[in-house]
Structures are given as C-alpha cells and as structure tokens.
Amino acid sequence: MNTVLWIIFLPIIIFIIGTFMLGYSRKFIARIERRYGPPIQQVFYDIFKLMNKKTNISHGWMHDIAILMLLGGTLLTLYFIPVPGFHFFAQYGDMLVIMYILLIPALGMALGVGETANPNGSIGISRALMMLAGYDIPFFLTFIGMAMLNQTTSMYELINIQQAGGFFGWGLITNPLLGVAALIALQGMLGEKPFEVMVAPHEIATGPMTEMGGKYLGIMMIQHAIAVVVELTIYINLFLGGALNWFEYIIKLFVLFTVLLSVNAVFGRFRTDDAVRFMWKIPLPMAVIGVLFIIF
C-alpha cells in the first residue's frame, strides 16, 4: 500500500521540487546581474499559462506521440533511481538500465521535431544529438568506474557503501578524478552554459522547440523540471554520498545546483564542435585515467 502511494505521488513531489529549483535559478542569475528577478513561483505561472492556451497547432499524430515519449522517458528514469524512502524499482534495475533509459527523451524530441519540417528545429536537434555524443561518453565511463570500484552495479548498494564511510566515503573524495569529470559532463547534460548551444534562443529561435507552443511547450517544461532533479540525483547518488532523509537530499540538491549555476551565470556559449572537442579533451582523459587507477 505504501508502495502504491509512493508510485502515485513521487512524480508530483519531484515536479514541485523541480519547479522551485528552476525558479531559484532565475532568481539567482538575476541577482548576479544586479537586478530583481521574477518571484520563485514564476515557473508555475509559466506552465499554467502554457497549458491554458485556447488554440492549438498540431503537425500530425507523430508529433503528439513524440512529446508524450519525451515525458514518459523521464518519468521512467525517475522510477528507477532510489530516492530517500522509495527504492522499490531500484532493486530490479541497476545503473546499466538507467544509462539506457536516459537516451529515450532525446530520441523522442528528435522524432517530434523532425515531423515539423522547420529548418530551425532540425538544426537544433542535430546540435543536441551531437552534444549528447559529447557528454555521454565521459559520464558512462564514470559510471563504469564506480561500478568496478565497488564491485556492484546497483545504485542502492552504492548509497549504502558511501554512507557507511561517512564524509570520507563519498565518491568525490575517494575518486576525485572520476568525480570532477562527471561534474563537467553533468553541466553538459543539464544544458547549462557553456554547453547551452542546443537552446540558443537568438540564433535558431530556441532550437528544437521552435514549432511547439501552448500545451506542447507546457509538457516540455514539466519534463525539464523533472529531468533537472533526476540528473542531479544520479550525480548525488554516485559521488556525493546519496541521501537517507529528505532534508539532507534537498540541501545537497540546492548546493550542487548553486555550484553549477555559478558557472552558468558568467560564461558565454561554446559552439557545438568546440563543446564536443572540450568534452573529449578534458573530462574524457580524466575519466580514463581514473578507471585505469582502479584497474591497477
């Protein structure tokens, strides 16, 4: 019974945390630029307004289904990651399953955007998928490194191992190379500057989301809010010791997000080939050396 309640309410709780984090990010960046920002609940107003549009422009059934695939992929990833108090599915799926499912949202968006026949959307999707090839390889290597080190591929056991060691058992302290490489790759996965070329608003009219308005964009914003929390949780569970109660979990989420936002606020935007080249020059060798340390 407890499990069923968790299954129903977990996406809603994570969605609320995600919208507050996105609102917090806008306020934080505004304060760095020495102005007042929008209120923290601004993202709620945005999503409400988008879902409240009265006319709709659809481009066929493939377009509609692909958007649902986008949201569905992220929710599926959410269920397989252990959060404090709920790890029912996490014992059936381990890190390899999560690595696999993480690709579904990007593919869903590519299918949906390809249906609209707008050249801005196609350029945006090709850039997004190229960036995916850039940041995913170091990230997977760090997964594999942590799995080999602790002789397990289940994320729940990793949390327990790290918590047993106290502060010095965190993945970031025992394996600094892997931790820092994964941190840089995480910046690319979240789509923050300097790896924000996918959503470059002034160049290609928000990239893949050009033809989506109204309810489609509302669903994409919901997905973005949940995806931010999911990806940060993966990093926390691997390298920052996981969390055993909600208080510790939320504090770790906000501190990690603040560190990433501080880099976002002061950087420009790399070009696509520059970003991929950077990802393969700096995090990838660090991850490879980290894995080699573990083997020998």
């Binding site: 929008p38 107003y45 409400f48 009265k54 006319t55 928000t206 989506m212 308005g213």
Partner: protein, 191 residues
C-alpha cells in the same frame, strides 16, 4: 471594438489571475522603437520581475509589440505573424505611428491606423516612449487581463471579414494566409 462584460466563471477568474503573471513578448523590432526595449529588459528597469520576458518565435509568444511605423511591405508579414500566434494573444501599439500616422502621416507607403488590420489591445503614446512608460503600460495590460476585459483576440475571429477587406485593399492582391481563420473559430468554439 468594445466588448460587453459577461459574467466570468470561477475557473476563468482563477486562470486570469494566474496567467497574467507570465506574459512572453515577441521580439518583433522593425520600427524605430526597438531601441527602447533593451534598456527595459536589462538591470536598470528590470521587466522580468513582472514575468515578462522576451521570446523569439511567434508560436510561443503572447504579446506582439509593434514598435513604430509599418510600411505596406512589413504589414503583410505582421499579419502573417499575428495569425501564427496562439490565442489568447495581445497586440500593443507602440508609439504614435500606430495611432494616427505619427511622423510619417503624409507618406504614401506606411499604414496609418493599426486598428484597421489587426485588433489592438492598448496603445503607448510617445515618440519614443521611455522605459518607465513601457512598464506602466504593461502594468495596465496586466490589470486589464485581471479584470477579464482583454478579449480583443476574439474580435479577430468574429469580425474577420472587416479585417480581411482592409488587408486586401491595401496589398496588391488577396493575401494568402496559411491558417484558415473561419475553420479555427469553429473548431475551437470561439464566440
């Protein structure tokens, strides 16, 4: 074109109260007035604290800001852009060129009165208005949405023949739009 205030349901009141706090403005800056928009958006006269932020495609924007004069060549593209936006949408006429011709009142190729071609919600007077005036008029627009009176987008569907006649008379031939307005009005049940 005034609209008689009908009784709003509770759901409409709540949705007006929540959706007035987030308006996205389309960056359509082809007149002289576009120079006043960057100061309004940056740190000194911060516009984002009201929830208004710039957006680059018409499919995702709510406010279409016509900054300044419109020649006949640009007017055709503005009409096409207006029809691609999703309802509810608001048009704000910026500067005196949209009110009665402004500085170019005796020119042969600029339009004089924006109200004849697309329905306009509010006007901002000035040549050019200062950022304080822009923010004051956006606050007026937000208050108007809150009261439930900002319904000029429905006017386009109801009086489409009037607008289309004016558009066809000004351009060289009948304008070809890619949206079928009458079919949309029937499909989405707009009265």
């Amino acid at each position: 074109m005034e609209e008689k205030l009908t009784q709003r349901s509770v759901w409409e009141k709540i949705s007006n109260k929540l959706s007035k706090r987030s308006l996205w403005m389309l960056h359509y800056c082809t007149g002289c007035g576009a120079i006043e928009l960057p100061p309004t958006m940056t740190a000194r006269f911060d516009m984002e604290r009201f929830g208004i932020s710039p957006m680059v495609t018409p499919r995702q924007a709510d406010i279409l800001l016509i900054t300044g004069y419109l020649s006949v060549k640009t007017l055709k593209r503005v009409v096409l852009t207006y029809e691609q936006m999703q309802a509810p949408k608001y048009v704000v006429g910026f500067g005196s060129c949209t009110i009665n011709g402004g500085m170019y009142w005796n020119s042969y190729s600029t339009m004089k009165c924006l109200d004849q071609y697309i329905p306009v919600e509010t006007y901002i007077a000035g040549c050019m208005p200062r950022p304080e005036a822009i923010i004051a008029s956006f606050n007026d627009l937000i208050a108007k949405i809150d009261r439930g009176e900002a319904n000029s987008w429905k006017d386009y569907y109801k009086n489409y023949d009037f607008y289309k006649a004016n558009q066809d008379r000004t351009f060289e031939g009948p304008i070809e739009t890619y949206n079928d307005i009458k079919a949309d009005a029937a499909m989405f049940n707009i009265k």
